[in-house]
Subunit: 461 residues, 2 copies
Amino acid sequence: MLDATLSRIDNEMEQNLNRLFDFLKIKSISTDPEFKSDCVDAANWLVKDLESFGAKVEKYETGGHPIVLGHLGSESGLHILFYGHYDVQPVDPLELWDRDPFDPVLEKLPSGHVIRARGASDDKGQLMTFVEACRAWISQNGKLPFKVTFFFEGEEESGSPSLVPFMKKYKKEISSDIVLICDTWLFESRVPSIVTTLRGILKEEIIISGPDKDLHSGMYGGISTNPARVLTDVLSALHNHEGIVTIPGFYDEVSELPKNIKDQWEGLNFNHNQFLHDVGLSNPAGEKGRAPLEMIWSRPTCEINGLKSGYINEGFKTVLPSQASAKISFRLVGTQDPLKIRKSFREMVENHVPIDCKVTFSEHEASKASQMDTSSPGFEKAREAISEEWGTEAAFVGCGGSIPIAGHFQKITGVDPILIGFAKDDDQIHSPNEKYDLESFHRGIRSWVRVINSFSELQNV
Amino acid sequence: MLDATLSRIDNEMEQNLNRLFDFLKIKSISTDPEFKSDCVDAANWLVKDLESFGAKVEKYETGGHPIVLGHLGSESGLHILFYGHYDVQPVDPLELWDRDPFDPVLEKLPSGHVIRARGASDDKGQLMTFVEACRAWISQNGKLPFKVTFFFEGEEESGSPSLVPFMKKYKKEISSDIVLICDTWLFESRVPSIVTTLRGILKEEIIISGPDKDLHSGMYGGISTNPARVLTDVLSALHNHEGIVTIPGFYDEVSELPKNIKDQWEGLNFNHNQFLHDVGLSNPAGEKGRAPLEMIWSRPTCEINGLKSGYINEGFKTVLPSQASAKISFRLVGTQDPLKIRKSFREMVENHVPIDCKVTFSEHEASKASQMDTSSPGFEKAREAISEEWGTEAAFVGCGGSIPIAGHFQKITGVDPILIGFAKDDDQIHSPNEKYDLESFHRGIRSWVRVINSFSELQNV
């Protein structure tokens, strides 16, 4: 049963790829209103695809982009839910792409074949690994061994504003025994992994305004307040010289890493030199005295994601800008409360802003960090299954990114999700020239078939 | 002779305005290559207009935009040169304009009529005051009482790269007894003025680069260097908490204001509250302990004119940007050497940039401050003439802006130019909705007729 299904996958990779390419052609950039109808197209594409192998699917309208929910299998017994997102990151700067981000192609590199397109890795390719595994299982065996619910959203890259209200309203439909999420990485691009800690996130946008128009820096320079100078002062004050965030109370809810986790992470022999080298860097630049894996998995951060003020085009314009703005995000750990940190951050900014400047804040996403209980049903079975596929012992790892959906499941349906993904460090998600290795896609599908097979023994959890 | 010419001007204001409007319609933005042919159009328009009242005109090609030189009157005796520029500032942000910046209109405001268009005040309207004065004089009196050379360039708003090589090459053509420049203001929009000190300028652009692509702030945040943070640290370090520039040696060539000038400036009773109020501010934000007029006329500054990094569009993108850039300009005074300050600034930036970041510099304009000798020929005559026109004693004042052409004349032809202009503080030059008061244009033309009349007594200088 298992071997035949795995063989079927190997034989049908061309069809699997064709379906993924169709999906990748849809420009489902959720953060930019210009692409609203493309997001609807992507949701419709998923509805049709899930129905093609027998799922009962419903598309739910939200205040933003639609949510797709599909059910397969019997109503009683074990119930597995799989989550993924069909939306993708913006593509700018477009000029740094070697080709159209929405014209997917299979490229042959010295290291093997890669699927090149925006969303190939994050998250359309990963989402489709599970869809293809279910399709192959049904084709080979007639039906799945338990109930499966597919849960696909289209706002993951823009803060998921519709998600929590939806999950609360449709709590019954999305309650399950096990939750699977495919939006993470192989450790060091080779070790299959289950992410058991995730950093939270807080996103803030500030605009500092001074004079009521851009001014001539000759007429007004020296007497008038310059919002760009105020902004750089404020932002510079957010860290001290040791890389420590200076916002009052920022580290109050941050604990030191427990020894057993520290030991386990040390056992992974993380090659941080290679990790940094791959992006043109050489030196861990975070808090002094912290191990590299700690810096990215279990320490909070404060980063500038965008800066804008004054004249930014070619040439020069000696304006004193009337405004200066920044996008800033925080990665959170432990039990840090994003709303408490937002308040403290804003107070600190307000205190820096002088007479004649005012600051306005816009809020974006805010979510706490998550920690999974690996003794929950499915974790060990899943770990064994993916170890088998990749021929190497799978690891429980941390993740520096924020996948707020994990915490939402913990809070709303009371399940600690199992986060398994097949992306590689060099996939360039959120950057130009995103790709997904053909190996990730192929072995990803095979991995889920093994997980389905091993979960079939779990009928009474 | 004088009264008849002044009357002629009053009677021909409609024709004068029509000519100016034609000139204002030309989009001669010199800093943006997209408008290169518009700059040529503006030069051609001037050639044709000067020829229409008998000038011998030549248009000189340069590496950038053309220079127009026109001569009128006899070869012997007194020789007056008039300088202006036909190029204008960029118009962005375009959405803040109430109308098309290149569709000039006469608007009636409670305070009187204004000419609304980009370049109306800086410098097309001001340039045309002298042209119209000459035209009226010739129409009324047959010929000018001395030789006049018109010298118009098209790169003033983009650092005048072609100007000095041209002036050196055509030194003979541009050598004169007196130089007049019309690119300045009425003091507090009411007192006719001759600017006798000008700040110099140094423009620098820096790009700080870190990772070789934009990174995901979850995967890389905390371990990777962030160029936007490095940039804000560097820029924030350029001033201390007292508003003093911290670049080593910055104040070495800056002297305290001599007592007689200080007294004269105090006598002007500058209303800095009104000056700031007009642009939405209330508090002098410069160096602690300096008088407001000192801050803008005789103290050096360092200002941020542009900032750009990461994701700056609508929505949010949690990138760690690979680059961060800034445009910075310095206003210089006394004998500050722009090249020495450039070197010191760059060393300071280099010293702040950590491992894994590199900085690249681009140079733009650099020119020293200028001080005019008011005992040179023409200063007193001009001051009397404009006092007469405006009915109030004209003042010798400072100017915070940088009009490098003044220093070029001092160095190349050995003449201290007489800077007279009729712009008002609220003209919004370099900002959206630029305007020039009809009064400035009308009385400006009349002022020059009075200056021409008074210079006719100066045949032997």
